[in-house]
């Protein structure tokens, strides 16, 4: 791979030949520090947010935009969260032909689950469940790291110690995903939202349930990822559900 004169050296040599001498008109800059300096001055005249949090309720905007992609969005107060969560899981258990457990990632706050009735079975992911076992789960309950109001997106930050978001497979294999989003986690737009993340960790950006536009470019919800996404948006005062 890194043998002298190997593919790596040859590709780099061709790039240098193609981009010309340093400081030339086509933009090749030269030494590394200089490249970073020039990069920092590239014009970014776009808006840092398309809705101003000062004049617009971005929690409302998030709820509206997530619902646009057929996520079910419910607004609850902090005091009402546990009851709402318990109701949703109990309803799904009641509808299932064969009651299956819900997987609960490590670090999900215990008080969120305080009202879940005993009939609803919860399973921990420690030790880790196999993919086949995950396929036998009724669903998964998670928190999130950040939500983006403008696009109706929930961002999960995975890896050890991630608070209640689990490893990536947890929100992928089961067919139902219940995500709890706190008002403080809602960023107005991508620039603020992405800046809140730790790039060293794996991330999943989720905008509605899985979907495809592959047949006649018509959007259809429900392919390989969870076919249903339910969002509990926790805000101080409960507004009417959109």
């Amino acid at each position: 791979m890194t043998a002298p004169g190997g593919a790596r050296d040859q590709i780099l040599a061709r790039i240098r030949a193609a981009t010309g001498p340093e400081g030339s008109a086509n933009g090749r800059v030269g030494p590394a520090e200089k490249v970073d300096e020039v990069y920092a001055t590239l014009p970014r005249d776009y808006l840092s947010a398309h809705h101003d949090p000062a004049s617009c309720d971005i929690a409302d905007l998030f709820a509206e935009r997530a619902a646009d992609y057929r996520a079910v969005v419910e607004r609850v107060s902090p005091a009402g969260l546990a009851a709402a969560l318990a109701r949703i899981l109990a309803e799904r258990r009641g509808r299932a032909a064969r009651p299956l457990p819900f997987v609960i990632p490590d670090g999900l706050p215990a008080e969120w689950l305080a009202a879940v009735p005993a009939a609803v079975q919860l399973t921990s992911d420690t030790p880790p469940l196999s993919a086949a076992e995950l396929d036998m789960m009724a669903g998964v309950v998670t928190g999130c790291a950040v939500a983006i109001a403008e696009t109706g997106t929930i961002i999960l930050e995975h890896g050890p110690g991630s608070l209640g978001q689990g490893r990536r497979a947890l929100t992928l294999v089961p067919d139902f995903h219940l995500a709890v989003v706190l008002a403080a986690q809602v960023a107005a737009d991508l620039p603020d939202g992405l800046a809140r993340l730790n790039p060293a960790r794996p991330h999943t950006l989720i905008s509605g349930p899985s979907a495809t536009s592959d047949i006649e470019l018509i959007r259809v919800e429900g392919v390989h990822g969870p076919r249903e996404l339910h969002v509990l948006l926790v805000t101080a005062e409960t507004g009417a559900a959109p």
């Binding site: 593919a7 040859q10 933009g27 005249d45 990536r168 497979a169 991508l190 060293a200 950006l205 495809t212």
Partner: protein, 489 residues
């Protein structure tokens, strides 16, 4: 090291679709297929209106577009710097980095990695780079079975067909045709399968489920690779991408060297530009971002294969280079009047449409008749440039490449076309010759015209009238009229 590397020779490779004729012949056949035209017109009309609405929602679209262009241009001009930084950070995060000069190199590297993982079955998420290098065919020749997991790619694979669109490779098939392919080729297709897109998607889900859960190796491309952090980004809709980059023990990502972005922050620009341009969504359903390996979450082994395959040749062309800014959104296909009528197969390349007409001849060279014909597969109307999220001036690049094609032929033969243009140059430079020519054209034009149109000229001029007609020249040219009347009439 392969023999090619050792000898220092360099042969970029991208398969031309087997037996593909030059664009005019392929297009003529495609245009005659009324079902194909109906499918394409329906799909492209739908997405055009939606894209326009998704873009109109952002007041600063032009600024985002300018930022996207500027970031890409800066990255391309300093590509060696950013690739080395990417390599360093992928390795620091526990990944492996391989460099491939061409398709043969890249395919050999991937085949070796799959064998080392002890399997002969892989699941794969749609990627243009792997289409370009013909990875599936190369792996099949090594006895490795590749399962395409994107719905449209699955349709194409099951239908023994070829992709015809960057985003929606099966755009040329309608729901009824897809249902038939599933019933014919999918042993576990449910009885009584209808042509409801929902039912078809559910059938694909059931068909692929077990393969996802048991796969040892996943293969992906990447939409973006972040030099600053070593992160890779896969943008998708169905969740098959998440399956492929998360569940297998080994993940191999095959990525063109132009996919690198300097820093994490750049995602705020490209994640705004890409979904709105491609599927007309504010955001696509799923985006996966990973950095090397994360113990206890996802693959234990990660390999990044960086592919040149002609990109450095395009980089050396100051005008053609802008094609490397492409983020594969396919907006230019959906607005192109030529693509809408011919479909993707006529372009004879995994990259169809306006962007394909400037990428394929640069990656493969203009040596073959098919590639030499591609820069001419356009009316130069400019709709592609207008919608391109990274402002690639496709008409400019097309004209530039046309000149290259002509230059490449200049040495070889005296063509009637060249002779014509040579004569035209002389005539247009001389007022006396021009007046004589206009008189001649007026007479002879009216002789061959029918109902005021010239539809067919004798050889060699028939090369022109085979695909075009022209109005008959007027009885008198403007210059002749002016000389006679001085405009007093």
């Amino acid at each position: 090291m392969t023999a090619q590397e050792a000898s220092g020779t360099y042969h970029p490779g991208m398969p031309t679709y087997l037996g593909m004729p030059a664009f005019p012949a392929a297009a003529a056949a495609a245009v005659a297929d009324s079902q194909l035209r109906a499918n394409l017109a329906h799909a492209t009309r739908t997405i055009r209106a939606k894209r326009a609405a998704a873009v109109a929602e952002l007041a600063d679209w032009e600024e985002l577009r300018a930022a996207g262009k500027t970031i890409k241009d800066h990255t391309l001009a300093n590509l060696d710097h950013y690739l080395l930084r990417l390599e360093e950070n992928v390795i620091a995060a526990g990944g492996h980095v391989h460099w491939a000069q061409d398709a043969t190199d890249a395919n050999a590297i991937v085949a070796g990695l799959v064998r080392a993982a002890g399997t002969d079955r892989v699941v794969k998420v749609k990627s243009m780079a792997t289409q370009e290098i013909g990875l599936n065919e190369a792996l099949a020749a090594e006895g490795i079975a590749v399962l395409e997991t994107d719905l449209a790619e699955l349709i194409v694979q099951l239908g023994h067909d070829l992709p015809s669109h960057i985003l929606v490779p099966a755009i040329h098939k309608n729901r009824a045709e897809i249902r038939e392919i599933f019933l014919r080729e999918m042993p576990d297709a449910p009885e009584g399968l209808t042509d409801d897109p929902r039912a078809l998607a559910a059938a694909a889900r059931a068909h692929l489920r077990q393969a996802f859960l048991s796969a040892k190796v996943g293969i992906s491309g990447a939409n973006f690779a972040i030099a600053e952090t070593g992160s890779l980004v896969v943008v998708e809709s169905e969740g098959n991408g998440r399956m492929c980059v998360t569940l297998p023990e080994t993940l191999i990502s095959v990525v063109g060297i132009e996919k690198v972005l300097p820093s994490w922050r750049d995602l705020e620009v490209f994640l705004a530009l890409l979904p709105r341009s491609s599927t007309a969504e504010r955001m696509n359903p799923y985006t996966s971002i990973w950095t090397g390996v994360m113990p206890g979450d996802g693959p234990e082994e990660f390999h990044l294969v960086l592919v040149d395959n002609g990109r450095t040749a395009a980089l050396a062309d100051r005008t053609g280079r802008q094609a490397l800014r492409c983020i594969r959104c396919s907006a230019c296909l959906n607005v192109c009047p030529v693509y809408e009528r011919t479909g993707g197969h006529a372009y004879g390349s995994p990259y169809p449409g306006p962007i394909g007409a400037i990428i394929s001849p640069q990656l493969r060279g203009v040596g073959s008749p098919a590639d030499a014909s591609l820069p001419f597969a356009s009316t130069l109307c400019g709709a592609c440039y207008q919608v391109c999220p990274v402002a690639i001036n496709i008409p400019e690049a097309l004209v530039h490449l046309r000149a290259k094609v002509v230059d490449a032929k200049r040495e070889k033969i005296i063509s009637p076309e060249r002779t014509m243009f040579h004569v035209s140059g002389r005539v247009l430079a001389s007022p006396r010759l021009l007046a004589a020519a206009q008189r001649g054209a007026s007479l002879s034009g009216r002789l061959v015209a029918r109902s005021g149109r010239i539809r067919r000229l004798p050889r060699p001029l028939s090369a022109w009238t085979d695909t075009r007609d022209a109005p008959a020249p007027p009885r008198e040219s403007f210059r002749a009229w002016w000389a006679r009347t001085r405009g007093t009439r």
